[in-house]
């Protein structure tokens, strides 16, 4: 029983990472209606920028804010330059371009900063928070920041005009144009915001998993899993999904005899597919109408 609780706690701590990433994924899905496979690498690259800024002597919070600003601008720029020519191209072409971006960012980061793991500072400290150190202050801080972002996003999307315009532009671009919304800019803004949230996620995740060019590859997968379980259209769902993936995986790895420890990821993924077959749009997601 003790072990069970410990694994749940640790699962929540790890789940915080996934939730954070899932949130960034849902964010961009809201803005562009695609899943961005390069999202993890964008977050990783942002985190390296933060690391570099700190190496140059900037204090943590200055680097933190600067990185968010830089990432936002880079996200907007990326959309305007690389993705703009793809407007109206089929989904498959988009996915290939995301794969290309993935390769470019990963390779460039390795080229610039090499592949040795680098420690990344945490603003919250690593002292145990509770549960005999299963939840450290950093884990707590990360979860808190994730929840704060969630609330901010909620307020932004529900209660600001620009948030409303962004949702409209993603949901029904043709109609959005007819009411005068500049859809292109909304998409670029969505990229910027997703990049910024990704940067926050990266900077919170890096102290746990250590900074290196490949740090996000598997986390992106778990983030996808979380986002999908929760429903790609719901930020709250993404956060809940992220936490549940963390807990489920730990419990599967611990309590399913024999195959559990070797195949905990496989089991977690199978569970997710099972969830999807019962609820094809995730736990909190809305059924998306297929547009022609």
């Amino acid at each position: 029983m003790d072990l069970f609780l410990h694994q749940v706690l640790a699962g929540l701590a790890t789940g915080g990472i996934y939730a954070c990433m899932a949130l960034a994924i849902v964010m961009i899905y809201q803005a562009i209606d695609h899943l961005n496979f390069a999202q993890g690498e964008m977050a990783m690259f942002s985190t390296f920028i933060a690391w570099q800024l700190m190496q140059w002597g900037l204090p943590y919070w200055v680097a933190f804010v600067a990185t968010i600003v830089i990432s936002f601008a880079a996200g907007v720029l990326l959309e305007q330059t690389v993705l703009r020519p793809l407007h109206g191209a089929p989904v498959l072409s988009h996915i290939v371009v995301f794969i290309a971006l993935f390769a470019i960012l990963n390779s460039a980061a390795g080229f610039i900063w090499d592949y040795t793991v680098k420690p990344f500072p945490t603003p919250f400290g690593t002292q145990p928070l509770f549960g005999q150190g299963l939840m450290s202050a950093h884990d707590g801080g990360m979860i808190a920041v994730t929840l704060i972002i969630l609330v901010l996003l909620y307020l932004f999307f529900r209660h600001t005009r620009i948030g409303l315009a962004m949702r409209a532009a993603a949901a029904n671009p043709a109609s959005a144009r007819l009411v005068g919304i500049r859809v292109g800019w909304m998409v670029a803004l969505g990229w910027g915001m997703a990049a910024a949230i990704g940067a926050v996620a990266g900077m919170l995740i890096a102290p746990v998993v250590f900074l290196e060019p490949n740090m996000m590859i598997s986390i992106l997968l778990y983030g996808f899993a979380g986002a999908v379980v929760g429903g790609l259209t719901s930020p709250l769902g993404a956060v809940i999904g992220g936490f549940s993936v963390g807990v489920i995986e730990n419990l599967a790895g611990t309590f399913i005899p024999y195959v559990g420890r070797e195949m905990k990821l496989t089991i977690a993924l199978a569970l997710i597919v099972a969830v999807l077959t019962v609820k094809p749009s995730g736990l909190l997601g809305r059924r998306v109408m297929t547009r022609v």
Binding site: R167, A168, S175, G180, I181
Partner: protein, 238 residues
């Protein structure tokens, strides 16, 4: 029938390489009601789309003294043309009131918007009751009302309506046409109407045009057109 609000000259429109409009010339008067008649596939919807830059065009479109041919859709909307598209273009995942808010996206005056929302609710009392409901869950008639209300939030000079009566019960259609007439008279909004129900459209309109396979074949006062033998046989079911 005073000054001209919008006019086109030699308007062509294309879907990809496929040409659909072959040089239309027509005009809409300020505060007037024009209806566009024609068989399915004649190019009525395309004409509306051409006016708001939703398809590739060639030729001149002048609106309020300004050439808007080739403008982006959102910029045309900002100039005051509200297009209620085929299928209503509802933002179905959002609430009715959010849809209205979106209609006023080009405007910055918070207070004016709030006042307009109340005014729109006065025209469409049913929407006020449903304002926090998901727009996608409204009835078809309510969604059509919502689409017109949303267009109105733009404070348009010209409203383009694409088959507003499609799929609606006759009673609702009548109700809607009453409101459209009021909008035209009270708010001074010019209307351009593409309508299956030609009789109803001719009743509301003061001008009418008839297009066939992308070409204008007849234009004039609605009453004259309504009396034309060919039109009566083809579109009015006599």
């Amino acid at each position: 029938m005073s000054d001209v609000l919008l006019s086109t000259r030699n308007l062509h429109a294309f879907y990809g390489n496929l040409q659909v409009l072959h040089g239309l010339d027509f005009s809409i008067a300020t505060g007037g009601v024009t209806t566009l008649l024609g068989a399915n596939g004649a190019g009525k919807t395309t004409t509306l789309r051409a006016l708001t830059g939703m398809v590739r065009t060639r030729g001149d479109i002048v609106f309020g003294g300004r050439a808007i041919g080739g403008f982006a859709t959102e910029d045309i909307a900002r100039l005051g043309i509200a297009h209620v598209p085929e299928g209503r273009g509802t933002f179905s995942r959002m609430t009715a009131e959010e849809n209205l808010q979106l209609g006023a996206m080009t405007r910055g005056d918070r207070r004016g918007i709030a006042a307009d929302i109340e005014r729109v609710y006065a025209y469409f009392p049913r929407l006020a009751e449903r304002k926090n409901q998901q727009a996608g869950t409204l009835s078809v008639g309510e969604q059509q009302m919502l689409a017109i209300a949303r267009a109105l939030m733009l404070r348009p000079k010209l409203m383009l309506l694409d088959e507003p009566s499609f799929g609606l019960a006759p009673r609702i259609v009548e109700e809607m046409f009453v409101i459209l007439r009021r909008l035209n008279q009270e708010e001074g909004v010019a209307l351009m109407l593409v309508e299956q129900n030609a009789a109803l459209a001719l009743e509301l309109a003061d001008q009418a045009s008839l297009i066939e396979t992308g070409r204008l074949v007849m234009a004039g006062p609605a009453q004259d057109i309504g009396r034309d033998e060919n039109v009566r046989r083809a579109y009015l079911g006599y």
